[in-house]
């Protein structure tokens, strides 16, 4: 994507950083697609950039145009861009709402304000990449995508969702190795200044 400076500048467009390979960092086992017509089809739309034009893998919504994806990652990622490929007809979604790090988003609380709301247009070949606002998406462990409506069809069809960004590393697991003291001994905790009012042992 080009930025507004002249051709010879050395600027690096910060928001274009990253590869379209965040799909590899998705926790596929816990990935959930709500209101999909065929169970499990939601997982297929997250694949390699080279396979984005594969028309055999599609997720279709069931009875109404809403689709919601709950995407946990295997660590923390920085999300910079999103690409949505649909059909070249009214079943293409017309909006996407994004939330980061809110795994409890479902249809009822998705109606409210999102971290970012992007209006979409027809993109049957994956030529459009929408910028993601770095404010909320600098460190994402869980992403929620909500497609509330489309351009007029009864159901929504999505062929591919691409996520661009960088992998920041694994998140520390909740299990902690702790050492317990039955009675704390001051000599085990070296404190330089005994006259301090409050001690913080970290």
């Amino acid at each position: 994507m080009q930025h507004s400076c002249s051709r010879t500048c050395q600027h690096v467009d910060e928001t274009n950083v990253g590869q379209w390979n965040l799909y590899t960092k998705i926790d596929k086992y816990n990935l959930q697609c709500y209101n999909e017509k065929h169970d499990g089809s939601g997982k297929d739309v997250f694949r390699a950039w080279d396979e984005r034009l594969d028309r055999t893998k599609v997720v279709e919504s069931d009875d109404d145009p809403e689709l919601l994806f709950s995407i946990p990652f295997n660590g923390a990622v920085k999300l910079t861009g999103i690409c949505v490929i649909g059909e070249n007809d009214p079943s293409h979604p017309n909006t996407v709402k994004l939330w980061s790090n809110l795994p409890e988003i479902r249809f009822d609380n998705a109606r409210g304000k999102a971290h970012q709301e992007i209006p979409l247009t027809y993109d049957p070949s994956g030529t459009l990449a929408y910028q993601v606002n770095p404010a909320h998406f600098a460190r994402v462990t869980h992403l929620s995508l909500y497609f509330p409506s489309n351009f007029g069809e009864e159901t929504t069809r999505v062929y591919y969702i691409g996520l661009r960004g960088e992998f920041l590393g694994e998140v520390q697991s909740q299990v902690v190795i702790a050492t317990y003291e039955s009675r704390p001994q001051l000599k085990d905790h070296k404190v330089d200044d005994l006259l301090k009012g409050t001690h913080e042992i970290q």
Binding site: N30, Q32, Y34, N35, K37, H38, D39, D62, D63, E66, P72, P103, E104, R106, F107
Partner: protein, 388 residues
């Protein structure tokens, strides 16, 4: 074994006072709930279960894996009011939405034992909503036939075209609710039975599946037969028993240590009450002392009482062990008794009493019996001479 959070909705309307399920419908529900709880926690210890009453849509227990919390509230549930299905399901939905285990698959198990009064539109909307949220639901209708079609429709809507995660189970009046549930998909997971071992609702003898552990099943069966025979024999030779118990068997010292193990289990050979270790010790002991003890049984009746005086001290300490030894001796003797073996084998599944292999084995036992009898007699006379 997927992680699951289950909310169990109990019907506590006035219809639960009915006694067509023994002892009352409410009791039957409570048993069924405990069965489901154990099945869920067995299949994955991190599974959570919560409780909810349908007459007022009140959450009795939050989602937890602690059995105590669920059971303490379960048995204190009041029977009151009328069933409000939609409200209950909506509350269950809300409780599941706020569950701690975000990765758990949500599930609702509903018990319905009273007539359903519901607006059809609202009912279908509810089904669609649950489907959208990917919540599976299992409905157990017991004692009530009137609302069956409505629930069938409900389940069809939730399942959609391909899904089979939601089930409807109808239990007729008078049936045993927990037992009926064992064979349903509620308890059975995809990879086989989620039923805990030794659960009282099991229909197998001794509460243990013969397919899981055939040796154990055999040992238990033999023990029961033996117990029966010992009781019959004791009735027959009551007075003779006391005399032989006084005598110290010569070759007892080596085996008394193992028999003291058995002593801890008490005088009756109820093997099902022994722990596994003790059962194994018993089995080992049986095989070790088989030949020896046919000796001892013969000898006890032959050795004269003149040896009593020198052995009184030893006797008092060993009396309890001896009684156990006595039991195990007679038990081992029974094992060698071909008639007894025939009886046992006849009862075993999959054994044809008339087959070649079985006949050959029985003949061999009879042969052994004869040999030991002969050697016993010569030994007995020898040892009599030594004693004197």
């Amino acid at each position: 074994m997927p992680l699951e959070s289950t909310i169990i909705c109990i019907d506590n309307s006035d219809f639960m006072r009915d006694g067509d399920f023994i002892p009352t419908r409410m009791q039957a529900q409570q048993d069924a709930v405990s069965l489901i709880f154990h099945a869920k926690t067995r299949s994955n210890p991190e599974n959570n279960v919560g409780l909810l009453t349908l007459s007022d849509g009140r959450v009795v227990t939050q989602l937890t894996s602690d059995v105590g919390k669920v059971f303490s509230k379960l048995h204190l549930l009041p029977i009151e009011g009328k069933l409000d299905f939609c409200k209950g399901i909506k509350v269950a939905n809300l409780a599941l939405k706020h569950r701690q285990g975000k990765n758990h698959r949500p599930r609702i198990v509903v018990f319905v034992g009273s007539p359903l009064e519901v607006d059809t539109n609202e009912f279908t909307k509810l089904a669609k909503r649950l489907k959208k949220e990917k919540i599976s639901i299992d409905i157990v209708v017991f004692g009530e036939e009137s609302s069956r079609e409505k629930f069938e429709e409900f389940i069809t809507v939730i399942n959609g075209k391909e899904n089979t995660n939601s089930h409807l189970i109808c239990v007729p009046s008078g049936a045993n609710l927990p037992d009926t549930l064992i064979n349903t998909p509620i308890i059975q997971s995809e990879d086989g039975s989620g039923l805990p071992n030794g659960y009282s609702a099991s229909s197998f003898a001794f509460g243990i599946n013969p397919e899981d552990d055939p040796e154990l099943a055999m040992a238990l069966r033999i023990s029961m037969e033996e117990q029966r025979r010992v009781q019959e024999a004791e009735i027959g030779r009551g007075p003779g028993n006391e005399g032989s118990q006084q005598n110290v068997p010569q070759s007892n010292t080596g085996t008394s240590s193992t028999s003291s193990n058995v002593g801890t289990s008490g005088n009756d050979m109820d093997v099902t009450r022994l722990t596994e270790d003790e059962q194994i010790a018993l089995a080992i002991q049986m095989s070790m002392t088989q030949a020896e003890n046919t000796n001892d049984v013969e000898m006890k009746e032959d050795v004269p009482s003149s040896s009593n005086a020198s052995n009184i001290n030893q006797q008092t300490s060993k009396t309890t062990e001896e009684t156990q030894q006595q039991h195990t001796d007679t038990f081992a003797a029974s094992l060698n008794d071909p008639q007894f073996l025939q009886d046992v084998l006849r009862d075993l599944p999959g054994v044809d009493i008339n087959s070649e292999a079985v006949r050959a084995a029985l003949e061999q036992v009879q042969q052994q019996q004869k040999d030991t009898d002969d050697t016993d007699k010569s030994n007995a006379t020898k040892k009599k001479k030594d004693e004197k």
